[in-house]
């Protein structure tokens, strides 16, 4: 491949890629989530059995990943709305992406204990 022909987009392209990937992941989880919730129409035991898997340490880690995907998709989605509807949006799209990432990191740190705390206690005792 000749040097310099590969398009390596910057913040704009990578946020677009991440928005797609997180969107697909969230959508697939949503299918599963509606199905597991539907078990409340089967019996309380069936529902509680499945929800018990949501409380295991490994699935807690997946939940943390789900929270990460949803928070990014939500915050970046608001950025996209701003780019499309705010007259100065396109000019500040990069700054808005870094703002999104900043808020995302703060919220992810905040979610550490609530989402993973019980898993850590279960794995390491106490």
């Amino acid at each position: 491949m000749p040097a310099g022909t590969l398009y390596r987009g910057r913040e704009g392209m990578w946020s677009w890629v991440a928005h797609r990937v997180t969107g697909v992941l969230i959508f697939f989880f949503l299918f599963v989530h509606v199905l597991d919730t539907a078990l409340v129409r089967v019996s309380p035991e069936a529902y509680d059995d499945v929800v018990a898997t949501y409380k295991t340490p490994i699935v807690a880690l997946l939940e943390y990943g789900l929270v990460a995907a949803i928070l990014f998709h939500a915050l970046n989605g608001l950025r996209i709305v701003a780019v499309d509807f705010w007259s100065k949006g396109p000019r500040y799209q990069k700054q808005m992406l870094w703002t999104v990432m900043g808020i995302w990191i703060v919220l992810m740190v905040g979610a550490l204990y609530p989402v993973l705390g019980h898993a850590v206690r279960e794995v390491f005792g106490s």
Binding site: R20, G23, V24, I26, F27, L30, F31, V34, L35, T37, A38, V40, R41, S43, P44, Y47, D48, V51, Y54, K55, A60, E63, V67, I70, L71, A74, G77, L78, I80, V81, D84, F85, A111, P114, V115, G117, H118
Partner: protein, 162 residues
């Protein structure tokens, strides 16, 4: 007007020196703008579906930010996080029409938002006509099934099922 005479005598195309066929006395013919709509223009046959889809993604997205982040806060953060979830917890929340409506609107908006997103992705990456068609049929079937199932569950929930 020697310039003009020379041009009309020779060729319809001006030469590289910049000789032009037209001047104030011989204006160029007016060419109608290609997209100008007239009474003879046929009505658009495709409608504005994609524009409404684009608008829907943004409007539903804004609402979903509130509904989904609120949902995550209640289910995963407040009051013991995921540990407290169980049949009794669901029964307690769906006793209130407010939370029933919350979950119903969230279900519909999230499924339509996600389905439209996946439709876009299928259109982008599935290159063969047949593949694209069947992937979208699968998507629409799964979407309709999930939306109806979820709606049914919310409306027919029975806390005294035992």
């Amino acid at each position: 007007m020697s310039l003009n005479k020379e041009a009309t005598d020779a060729t319809a195309i001006g030469d590289v020196e910049g000789v032009t066929l037209y001047d104030v006395d011989h204006p160029a013919p007016v060419i109608e703008a290609p997209r100008k709509r007239t009474k003879k223009t046929p009505k658009a046959t495709r409608g504005n579906f994609e524009m409404y889809g684009w608008l829907f993604m943004r409007l539903s997205g804004i609402v979903l930010v509130v509904l989904v982040l609120g949902h995550l806060l209640i289910q995963l953060v407040l009051d013991g996080g995921v540990s407290k979830i169980g049949f009794a917890f669901v029964a307690g929340r769906w006793a209130s029409p407010f939370w029933q409506a919350w979950d119903l609107i969230m279900l519909w908006l999230a499924m339509l938002h996600g389905a439209n997103g996946l439709r876009t992705i299928i259109n982008d990456y599935a290159e063969r006509d047949n593949t694209r068609f069947w992937l979208k049929m699968l998507l629409y079937t799964a979407t309709v099934f999930t939306v109806l199932l979820g709606t049914l569950v919310i409306f027919t929930f029975d806390p005294n099922i035992r």
